[in-house]
């Protein structure tokens, strides 16, 4: 057992962990941030992608010890204003809602442009892969603000989605890129845009 300190979304988290603890397990079990999903555990599906000091990694294939003392951004760290906890809607009722964000009392301005684009383009169905998709997309778009659709597809090659067929995810990537170009300060996303017509 070893004491490890990792800064997660700005919070300093210290835990006494087994050496075998993966970064993914540290984030979910020690820090309690369950937005990062445990998909395949073999670095294939990309659901567990998080940023370590601006670099994207698959947290299921990194030991917590390898990032000891460094800072990690998870999907929860993307929204500056934290969403109000969902108490009054179940996931089932949320799925049937026309405007789930509004039902949760959240404003689109609370979200990162990539999250807004995923919402507006309907780039998720079950949503399991979404935390990883969003993190990889954000990381990629910050490096390349003017991607083609093929570039976006290649960038998310390491993220698997079994629902959407990727079309809407690529749409969302293109829309987010446009927003991020017009709004270089990502902490203040642009107001809502009309949804794509599909």
């Amino acid at each position: 057992m070893q004491d490890v300190t990792i800064t997660i979304n700005g919070d300093i988290v210290t835990g006494t962990i087994d050496e075998r603890t993966l970064l993914l397990d540290f984030i979910r079990d020690v820090a309690g941030k369950t937005g990062t999903h445990n998909g395949c555990l073999e670095a294939r599906c990309g659901c567990c992608s998080v940023e370590v000091e601006g670099d994207i990694v698959k947290s299921c294939n990194v030991l917590a010890l390898q990032v000891a003392g460094r800072s990690v951004t998870t999907i929860e760290g993307l929204s500056k204003e934290r969403l109000r906890p969902v108490e009054h809607v179940t996931s089932q009722s949320l799925a049937g809602m026309y405007a789930p964000l509004e039902a949760m009392g959240a404003d689109v301005n609370d979200l990162h442009p990539v999250q807004v684009a995923f919402h507006q383009c309907h780039a998720l169905q079950c949503g399991f892969c979404t935390p990883g998709m969003v993190m990889v997309m954000k990381n990629y778009l910050e490096e390349n603000p003017e991607p083609t659709r093929d570039d976006v597809r290649t960038a998310i090659a390491g993220n698997l989605c079994r629902c959407t067929g990727y079309q809407h995810i690529v749409d969302a990537g293109m829309m987010a890129a446009e927003t991020m170009r017009s709004q270089p300060d990502n902490s203040r996303p642009a107001p809502a845009r009309p949804a794509h017509d599909h």
């Binding site: 070893q2 087994d18 050496e19 075998r20 555990l41 073999e42 670095a43 990309g46 992608s49 370590v52 670099d55 994207i56 990694v57 698959k58 294939n61 990194v62 030991l63 010890l65 390898q66 990889v136 990381n139 990629y140 597809r153 290649t154 960038a155 090659a157 390491g158 993220n159």
Partner: protein
């Protein structure tokens, strides 16, 4: 994963001391992208992990006085992909930016790929293809190993317990006019099913040096000798991509027979097409 002790040295000599102290149960972990997968399914179960995370000396790129490009073994693919190299060295960045996927490239290192020596990885093929040498540190001191001695014919490497790969030394930009890497893979993030490296030096339209290497289809990359024999000294136009590629497939996998199993026939076709592509791409540059 079986339990292990995690060690954090800060200098290469300290790494070697730790490896020696705990041999043969100690393994080096750089990015861990390959090692951790093996540890999870217990095909690898080292009792000690020696981390290179704090050994900054092993990261980064420098030019040696000889003009060689010395890449620290713990330099990640992501770092190399962002480099703006001159001449054929740009192909190194291009290879590193076009393998596995984005998150894996953040952690994966060039030395890790060389030590894993999986024939389907791009680095063993590239290192063999351009004749880069591998610098190894052990308690006995530093030694430099040629790829033909580093990668063993039956697969794996000649590294012994207590050896630490510290750098990969690529030849100077003058060594080749152009280096072309071509590969075929099923999905973007898959390892190659066949790859080819063509390193070419041309002076006044005449081939001064030519190295053709085929990777991913044999336990270690195969340097093609007979299929390129006689080309040195010839004008570039003398290269017949189709003929050379067909000969290379035979040289790597043996002559075609009517009993070839389907996977062998598939590999043959892949070798022909990636080699043809590499030859066409490489010879187009000096001609223009």
């Amino acid at each position: 994963m079986r339990a292990f002790t995690y060690l954090t040295p800060s200098a290469p000599t300290e790494v070697v001391e730790m490896l020696d102290a705990h041999a043969p149960d100690a393994r080096v972990i750089a990015g861990g992208q390959n090692l951790l997968l093996g540890m999870k399914d217990r095909s690898d179960s080292p009792a000690f992990l020696v981390s290179l995370g704090g050994v900054s000396e092993l990261e980064g790129v420098r030019a040696a006085d000889s003009g060689e490009l010395v890449i620290g073994a713990a330099t990640t693919y992501a770092t190399l992909a962002r480099m703006e190299f001159t001449g054929w060295h740009a192909e190194i960045a291009s290879v590193c930016g076009n393998l596995a996927d984005r998150p894996v490239r953040t952690m994966g290192t060039i030395g890790g790929a060389a030590c894993a020596a999986d024939p389907r990885y791009d680095i063993p093929a590239l290192v063999t293809g351009v004749g880069a040498s591998l610098e190894v540190l052990s308690a006995q001191g530093v030694r430099t190993i040629e790829p033909s001695d580093f990668f063993l014919e039956g697969g794996g490497t000649s590294l012994q317990p207590g050896d630490l790969l510290t750098a990969v030394r690529f030849p100077a930009t003058e060594a080749f006019t152009t280096v072309v890497f071509e590969k075929f893979r099923q999905r973007v993030f898959d390892a190659a099913l066949a790859s080819t490296v063509l390193a070419l030096r041309v002076g006044d339209g005449v081939i001064e040096d030519l190295r053709l290497t085929v990777g991913a289809t044999t336990p270690r990359p195969t340097v093609c000798v007979t299929s390129t024999a006689g080309l040195i000294g010839q004008p570039v136009d003398a290269i017949e991509p189709v003929l050379v590629a067909d000969a290379a497939a035979i040289e790597v996998l043996g002559p075609e027979t009517s009993n070839d199993p389907p996977h062998l026939r598939y590999q043959r076709e892949l070798i022909k097409s990636v080699t043809r592509r590499a030859l066409i791409r490489a010879t187009a540059i000096p001609r223009s």
